[in-house]
């Protein structure tokens, strides 16, 4: 949910700061954009399907 602090119906006017630098695992996973999030989801889906196919064929 709610990555932000306001209900969906209310436009927030937050004080903003610079985004902290990416660290750890998230440095390599582009979740900061909707497109990156969807691509990661599709890539994970493909990997899981391939692994399940291998597992079920074994």
């Amino acid at each position: 949910m709610p990555e932000l602090s306001a209900p969906l119906s209310v436009a927030p006017t937050p004080q903003q700061a610079e985004a902290p630098p990416r660290t750890g695992l998230y440095r390599r996973i582009p979740l900061d954009t909707p497109g990156g999030t969807v691509l990661c989801g599709i890539a994970l889906t493909v990997v899981l399907v391939l692994l399940l196919r291998l597992y079920l064929a074994g």
Partner: protein, 167 residues
């Protein structure tokens, strides 16, 4: 009540809960595509009416995740598939994998997102530094669930309609 009717009701509630739960995530991805750092309390955070609305909204979101998860497990139990799915036995490994992903997502909501988001929302007092850190964790937690929902939905559909992929 027949078992078939119980299964149908569980599925109905499961889908409804999932729409309410993940609908929040998808709407937020559209409304706020990128990370927005917060260190100050949201405007109007001291307005009890507004806080009440925010608490209700978040409670509906959180409990929808729980309802979705529990009805999912009950559906598997009602069919006698629960243990085999969780242990990834045979073709039930497909819905079993989806179940484990859903479990991780539900735990992510309750154990990672909620403890941090209540500081961002101003339900719990927090220093500016802590609110900034919590807003980043909340963002990543939410995005992680959005990402995980993609394979979860695929595997859920594939468990009923994806034999061509796995057999």
């Amino acid at each position: 009540m027949s078992w078939e009717l119980l299964g149908l009701l569980l599925r109905w509630i499961h889908i409804g809960g999932g729409i309410i739960w993940m609908g929040h995530n998808y709407v937020n991805v559209v409304l706020h595509p990128g990370y927005e750092a917060f260190w100050a309390p949201p405007p109007g955070a001291d307005d009890p009416e507004r806080q009440g609305r925010e608490k209700r909204e978040h409670a509906i979101f959180r409990h929808a995740s729980l309802v979705t998860w529990i009805t999912g497990l009950l559906m598997l139990w009602e069919k006698g598939w629960l243990a085999d799915a969780l242990l990834l036995h045979g073709y039930l490994a497909v819905i079993g994998t989806a179940t484990w992903i859903g479990t991780a997502m539900m735990l992510n909501v309750w154990l990672v997102l909620w403890p941090h988001q209540k500081r961002v929302l101003g339900f719990v007092p927090a220093s500016p530094e802590m609110r900034l850190r919590c807003s980043r964790i909340t963002f990543l937690s939410s995005r992680t669930n959005t990402m995980l929902s993609i394979p979860l939905l695929f595997l859920m559909a594939a468990s009923q309609h994806g034999a061509v992929l796995f057999v």
